[in-house]
Symmetry: C2
Subunit: 143 residues, 2 copies
DNA sequence: TCTCAGATGAAATCGAGTTGCAATGATGGG
DNA sequence: CCCATCATTGCAACTCGATTTCATCTGAGA
C-alpha cells in the first residue's frame, strides 16, 4: 500500500463524508505512502513546497483522526504523530513502534517482534494486550 | 521516603557534583515527598510561594535529570513529568518499564515479561538487545 | 576571608498546537 | 451545466509550556 491513486484517495475520503479537497488528498497521500507515524512538522515540510498551509494540514490531520482514518499518538517526545490505520494492521491494532534515539525517526515493528508474557505481578493490561509498546534504540542508520 | 532532612538532601546533591543551593534543595525535597510524577507547573505552584523562580525550578529539574536523580517522562498529555528515581529502580539496567497513562506511575516489569524477536526488517539494535522497552497502558488501579 | 565557576531571577524567546476570519471552492440540487 | 451553500482554505495571530539570555548573586574550595 505504498501509493494510492488520487481517485482511490478521493473515494476513501468521500466514504467518510469528507470533501475531497486538494490539501486533504495530499495529506492522506503522504500518510498512505509513509512507513510509520509522521509528525505535523514532517508533513508540513513535505507539503508547504506544494503551497499548502500549516494550519490546513493541521486541521486535515484532525479531520482524518476524527473520521477514524488516522490515529494520533504521542510517543513520548512531545509531538503528536499521525499514522494511517491500515487494513493490513487491523488484526494487530497495537503493533510496537521503534523510536531512534539518534535521529528521532519512528518506524513500525512487526507485531511478532515483541512478545508479551503476563507474568506474575505484571499489570492486568499486559494480559489483555491493551497496551502500547515502544522500543527505543539506535536505528541502522544511526548505529 | 516521604521526607528527608535538608542535610540528607544536601548530601545527595553534593554526591552528584551539584551545588546544594536553596532552590535545588527545595525542588529535590518536593520530588522526594511526592508520591508520583510532578509537572513543572505543579512544582512552580508549590515553590513560587517561597520566592523561587519558574526558570530556576525548570533548570534544576533538568539538572537533576542530567545527574540521574530524576526521570523525565511524558504521560501523553504533552507535559513533562519529573519523578524521583527511587532505590528500587536502580538495579538491573535493561528491564522494561510499565508507564501508566492514567496516574503516571512508572513500574519495572520483570525482564521475562517482554521477549524480543529480531525478525526480518527489524533494526539491528533489536538483535543486540541494546534497546529500551516501554509498555504504556493503564495500571490495575486506573483500569 | 577571597575568589569565581556555577547558579539565580527577570524577562525574552521559541515552537508546537490551535483558533478567528474573510475568501475560496467542492458538492448537491435545480 | 450552472448556481447556491456551506465546508474548507490561507493567513495571521494567539496560547502556553519549554527553553534561553544575561546581568547579578552565591556556595564551596583555596
Amino acid at each position: 500500500m505504498s501509493a494510492l491513486s488520487v481517485q482511490q484517495l478521493r473515494a476513501r475520503l468521500r466514504a467518510c463524508g469528507l470533501r475531497a479537497t486538494l490539501p486533504r488528498i495530499a495529506v492522506l497521500g503522504q500518510l498512505t505512502a509513509a512507513e510509520g507515524p509522521r509528525s505535523h512538522a514532517e508533513l508540513t515540510d513535505a507539503l508547504t513546497a506544494r503551497g499548502f498551509d500549516r494550519a490546513t494540514i493541521y486541521r486535515n490531520l484532525m479531520d482524518l483522526t476524527d473520521a477514524g482514518l488516522v490515529s494520533r499518538t504521542d510517543l513520548g517526545d512531545h509531538r503528536w504523530r499521525f499514522e494511517l490505520k491500515r487494513a493490513s494492521h487491523a488484526q494487530d491494532p497495537c503493533h510496537p513502534h521503534f523510536i531512534c534515539e539518534g535521529c528521532g525517526s519512528i518506524a513500525c515493528l512487526p507485531e511478532a517482534s515483541v512478545e508479551l508474557h503476563a507474568v506474575r505481578g505484571a499489570p492486568r493490561a499486559l494480559r489483555h494486550k491493551s497496551v502500547q509498546v515502544q522500543v527505543r534504540g539506535l536505528c541502522n542508520g544511526c548505529a
